[in-house]
Structure formats: structure tokens, C-alpha cells
């Protein structure tokens, strides 16, 4: 009987507790697990569901004899309600979407990343807080308000300062979209820079690097996946934005030759026309097919981003 007397009661109490744990606890634990699992896979379910329904609505048009996919993709003739000769070509709108997004990114990426670097590395506490609040405010402005600014204020400025015949054009849409994507790029970019361990900064400074050298040689390479993600989310915003570009780009079916030309984007076209297209008509199905096309475009952008990020990581 040399066993320490303390060990037995401890074991016993453990066993007792295990045996008497109420069934309710066990059950609720299990239920919560299932709930969290459902939440986890819901994103996949929704994406698949949306894709399924959009595709289902679009599919019948592909089998239609007077519809050609080549014409849909490569013709700029968009006459969905013509009385004489209906033509469904979205090439001009693909060009419109790309040109507006490209211009927006050309403006937003340097500004967004620059602001992210400044906020994260260069400015002091007070400025930092103010800047962050203001940028969040910028992100909270509804897109229709941006569109309105584009249609009224910006279009007048563009006509006055550039002499362009019309103020609603690629430049206008690009600037508006850039203003809308900058907050996203800034906040995600700043997070990416913040995630770089301070030991990197300390090591860099200890080696005698200037602050700019530190940013360029140490922080940017270390944070590049996060920064790329920031840029690509900005691109996603650009491709997907509807209301603002609908109002600011002039909504003209036209392959652009310069930044002062009006264009129409794929999203704006769906928004403007789906309401009137009679359900299950060819026009309706073609608009859903445009949705499939948009889906494919964003999928390609995301996939490319993923591959690039993985490529960077492997190295």
C-alpha cells in the first residue's frame, strides 16, 4: 500500500466526469461540428449552384440553329431587339470591359500600392489612423453614387480639360473604377505588408539599408503574394462592377480606338437589358450566356493568380 493516495481520487474524478457528461453536451458538440462544416462547404455549394443556374438558362441558345458562338464572341454587331435581323455579338463589350479595367488598374495599382506602402511603413500613428479611416470611407461609397459623380462632375471636367467631345468615356469609367478599387488594394496590400515579420525590417536596417532600399529589396519581395492578391481583387472589382461603369462609360456599343471613346461593358449590358428581355427568349438566353462568359473571365483571372502565387511560393 505504497501508492500515493492522491493519484486515485484524481483518476477517479476524471473517470466520473467522463461518465456523467450530459448527453446534451455531446449532442450539441456534434451539432455544432456539423453546422460549422455546412458553413465551410456552403461557399462551394453556392458557387456551383450559381454556375449551374446561369449555365442552365444559357444552354438552350447554344443548340439554336441561328445562333453561332463564333459570332457571339467575335462580332461587334449587337442588335438583340432588331425587327429585321437580330444579331448577338458581344466583342465590342469584351473590348469595353478590358479597356476600362486595364485603364483603371493602370491608375489604381501604383496609387493603391503606393498608399499601402506609405501607410504601413512611412507614416506616423496619427496620419496612419486618419488615412485608414478616410480610405475605408472611400470604400463605403455606393457604386451608384460613383456613377453619378462620373456622369455629372467627372464628365464635365473631362470635357473642359481635355477637349474630348463627350465626357462619358473610357477615361471617365477608368478613373471612377480606379477610385473604387484603390481602397481594396490599399487595405489588403497594407495587411500583406503588416504580415511581414518585424525581424526582416530590423535585419535590413541593421545592415545599413535606407528605408526605400528596405521597402524595395526586403518588404516587397516578402509580401509579393499578398500584394498580388490585392491587385487581383482590384481587377475582380473592375471586371464585375456594373452600376458605376454603366453611368460613366457612355454605354455605347463601339470598339474603342482611344481613351476618349465611349464603350459598353459586359456587366452594364446585362444590367440594362435583362429587365426587358422576355423570359426564355433568345435575347434572355444570350444575356445569360454573357453571364457565363463573365464567369469564365473571372475564373481565368483567379486561376492565373493562383498559379502565379504558387509559382512564387515554390521558388
Amino acid at each position: 500500500m505504497n501508492t500515493p493516495p492522491t493519484s486515485r481520487p484524481a483518476e477517479e474524478s476524471f473517470a466520473v466526469r467522463k461518465a456523467t457528461r450530459p448527453a446534451w453536451d455531446v449532442l450539441s458538440e456534434r451539432a455544432l461540428e456539423i453546422l460549422i462544416y455546412l458553413c465551410g462547404i456552403s461557399a462551394i455549394v453556392f458557387v456551383l449552384g450559381i454556375f449551374f443556374f446561369v449555365f442552365k438558362e444559357a444552354l438552350p441558345i447554344l443548340g439554336n440553329s441561328h445562333f453561332s458562338l463564333t459570332q457571339f464572341l467575335f462580332s461587334d454587331q449587337w442588335y438583340p431587339t432588331s425587327e429585321l435581323n437580330k444579331r448577338y455579338g458581344v466583342f465590342a463589350m469584351i473590348a469595353g470591359t478590358f479597356s476600362v479595367t486595364a485603364l483603371a488598374m493602370l491608375i489604381a495599382v501604383p496609387f493603391g500600392l503606393g498608399a499601402a506602402i506609405y501607410i504601413s511603413e512611412f507614416c506616423g500613428g496619427r496620419t496612419k489612423e486618419t488615412l485608414k479611416v478616410v480610405i475605408e470611407l472611400l470604400a463605403a461609397i455606393p457604386s451608384v453614387v460613383w456613377g453619378f459623380i462620373g456622369l455629372t462632375v467627372m464628365s464635365r471636367l473631362i470635357v473642359n480639360y481635355t477637349g474630348a467631345p463627350v465626357g462619358v468615356n473610357i477615361l471617365n469609367g477608368g478613373i471612377i473604377l480606379a477610385l473604387m478599387s484603390v481602397p481594396i488594394i490599399v487595405s489588403i496590400g497594407e495587411d500583406a505588408l503588416k504580415a511581414v515579420p518585424d525581424s526582416y525590417r530590423e535585419a535590413g536596417l541593421a545592415l545599413g539599408a535606407t528605408r526605400w532600399q528596405l521597402v524595395r529589396r526586403v518588404l516587397l519581395p516578402a509580401a509579393k503574394t499578398g500584394l498580388l492578391a490585392a491587385v487581383l481583387l482590384g481587377v475582380g472589382r473592375g471586371v464585375g462592377e456594373t452600376m458605376a461603369v454603366l453611368m460613366a462609360t457612355g454605354h455605347a456599343v463601339h470598339i474603342p480606338h482611344g481613351i476618349f471613346d465611349s464603350v459598353r461593358t459586359l456587366t452594364a449590358n446585362i444590367a440594362a437589358e435583362l429587365g426587358e428581355a422576355p423570359a426564355n427568349s433568345d435575347h434572355y438566353r444570350v444575356l445569360f450566356l454573357t453571364g457565363v462568359l463573365l464567369f469564365a473571365l473571372t475564373f481565368i483571372v483567379n486561376l492565373a493568380a493562383d498559379l502565379v502565387v504558387r509559382g512564387i511560393r515554390r521558388r
Binding site: E83, L84, N85, G167, V168, H251, A252, A272, E273
Partner: protein
């Protein structure tokens, strides 16, 4: 509602519940069809909502009616939204609204679909007249235009693309190109112009397609080289309405009340509202009111042409 009614067949309890819920919905003003719901005179607390949607040309007018009618019948709410004649008619055909506003006539196939979907034939009421005005910037020296010139400007393969083709030079602008401002294809104004001026031919691509009557006038007002078309009620000091000749040899008429009623202005049209079948109850009262002297005063105040005394409804 239908589904709820269906399950109620099986259980008495559910049916009581459903009926109670239905009554609740109607009382709080969510009922979709006041015509078939309990009469507004039934209880002092009951409120009726009339859903009204369609033409952008008429949206200000319909809003004016709704506000004015509130004074005459405080227990009736009229909810007005725009989107274009096509959007309103599409909603009426689906049976989701009570009254559709249209600045063009319903097409035969739309009437057919309405009959198939709802079993009722749409009924048309003329509630006023509008002259489709051709707008240019106020500094544009042009004062008159023929219908053929309008067609050549807007039509696919039309010959007129420059202001010099019309014999004018825009003061203070180096650009000679005509900036065409048009409407999105769900607009009744768009279809009216296509049918009566372009003779059903298609529009030239590349026009700036605005999403509302007001936007057209606004863009024309801020663009010296633009031409646009919109209802006469939207004129502002920044634009000029052109006098229109039917043919080159006929006299030019300005879009005015007198010329519209005398039918000398060549592109005048009726403003219409449609209901499904003969209107009942509150909807009928509302339309009668709109066509009475009180309602027609609103038409006049909105810048449109009221019905002649003989065509008005007696209160």
C-alpha cells in the same frame, strides 16, 4: 400565396393561419392585387397599394400623379418605378404589377403572352400626349431638322455623321462629328423612334445609350456636339428643341402643346397605361382620376400635353 393555399387544403389549421397571414399582408400594404383584395372601403385601417411601373418618359408624370392622388385618396399608395416601357410591359405580362406605363403601344406578341400567362387581355388607356423632341446643345446654330435627316443620323448605314453634313459648324468646338445620344433598348422612346422615324431599321451602333429620358437631355446639355431625343417634358435651359419637318418641303413645327394636339408636329405620340383586363376597384378609380381634370393638370405641369376636354373622364 398560391403554394400556401395549396398546403392549406390538407390541414385546417394551416389554412386558418394562411388566411390570417394573407389578411395581414394586405392590411400592411403588401398585397399585390388590390383589385381582387378586400375593398378599400371595408375597414378604416386597410391600405391599398397600386404597383405602377414602366416608361421612363412617364416616370415623373406618374410620380406626380401618385403624390397628388395621395391628397385625394389617403388610403391608397401608388408605388411608381421606371425602367422603360419594355420593363413595365414585361412586368405586367408576368402579372407582378397593376398598371404599366408605356410610351409605345404593346406589341401583338406581348398581348398574346399576357393572355397566355394571366388569362386576361391587357386594356389600354390614353392618358396624355407627348411630342418626341429632338434636342441639341443650346449653342448649336441648327434650328430645324427633317425626319429624314434624323433617320440618316441614327440609322444603321445612315449617311449623316458630321455636323457639316447638316450645314452647321458648332461654335467653340474643333470636332465636327455628331455625338449621337440614344436610349437603351427597353425604352419605349427608343422603339417609337425606330418604328416611326427609322422605319423599323436598326440604329447605328456606337450611340451613347442612356438609361433615362433625363440623362439624355443632361448629356446633350453638357456636350456641344451632341444630338438626342427625349420627351418634351424634359427640356432644360442647357438644350434646344429643334423644329421638325416631316419632309423637306413641308413647314417646320416646334414641339408645343398646340402643335401636338393639332397633330402638325410629326413625331407626337400617346402616353399610355395598361392594366390586365378591365380594371377593378382602386385601380379603376385611380385611372379614372388620372384621366379627369385633376389628373390632367398634373400632365400639364409635367410638361406634357393633356387630353382634350372631350376625352377626359368625368369625376
Amino acid at each position: 400565396m398560391k403554394q400556401r393555399a395549396h398546403t392549406s387544403l390538407t390541414r385546417n389549421l394551416t389554412s386558418t393561419f394562411a388566411a390570417g397571414l394573407a389578411a395581414c399582408l394586405l392590411q400592411t400594404g403588401c398585397g399585390k392585387s388590390p383589385g381582387s383584395g378586400p375593398d378599400s372601403g371595408g375597414g378604416s385601417a386597410s391600405k391599398v397599394t397600386i404597383q405602377n411601373k414602366g416608361s421612363d418618359t412617364m416616370v415623373n408624370l406618374a410620380q406626380g400623379w401618385a403624390e397628388e392622388y395621395k391628397k385625394a385618396a389617403p388610403d391608397v399608395d401608388v408605388e411608381v418605378s421606371g425602367g422603360g416601357s419594355g420593363v413595365g410591359i414585361a412586368a405586367l405580362v408576368k402579372g407582378t404589377i397593376d398598371i404599366a406605363n408605356a410610351s409605345r403601344n404593346m406589341k401583338a406578341e406581348e398581348i398574346e403572352t399576357a393572355r397566355k400567362n394571366t388569362g386576361k387581355a391587357p386594356k389600354e388607356f390614353i392618358v396624355g400626349y407627348d411630342s418626341l423632341a429632338i434636342y441639341v446643345h443650346k449653342d448649336n446654330p441648327l434650328n430645324e431638322i427633317t425626319l429624314d435627316q434624323v433617320a440618316q443620323i441614327y440609322m444603321e448605314a445612315g449617311r449623316i455623321t458630321k455636323w457639316s453634313d447638316l450645314g452647321v459648324k458648332i461654335p467653340g468646338s474643333s470636332s465636327d462629328e455628331i455625338v449621337r445620344v440614344s436610349r437603351q433598348s427597353s425604352s419605349g422612346t427608343y422603339e417609337f423612334l425606330r418604328e416611326h422615324v427609322l422605319n423599323k431599321k436598326d440604329f447605328k451602333l456606337g450611340s451613347r445609350d442612356m438609361n433615362g429620358s433625363k440623362e439624355v437631355v443632361e448629356l446633350v446639355g453638357s456636350t456641344p456636339t451632341a444630338i438626342g431625343y427625349s420627351g418634351m417634358g424634359y427640356a432644360t435651359p442647357a438644350v434646344k428643341m429643334l423644329k421638325v419637318r416631316k419632309t423637306a418641303t413641308e413647314p417646320a413645327y416646334e414641339p408645343s402643346v398646340a402643335n401636338t394636339l393639332a397633330k402638325t408636329y410629326p413625331i407626337a405620340r400617346s402616353l399610355l397605361v395598361y392594366t390586365l383586363g378591365e380594371p377593378q376597384g382602386p385601380v379603376k378609380k385611380y385611372i379614372d382620376w388620372a384621366m379627369s381634370d385633376a389628373g390632367q393638370r398634373v400632365v400639364e405641369a409635367s410638361g406634357y400635353v393633356p387630353l382634350p376636354a372631350g376625352a377626359r373622364a368625368k369625376p
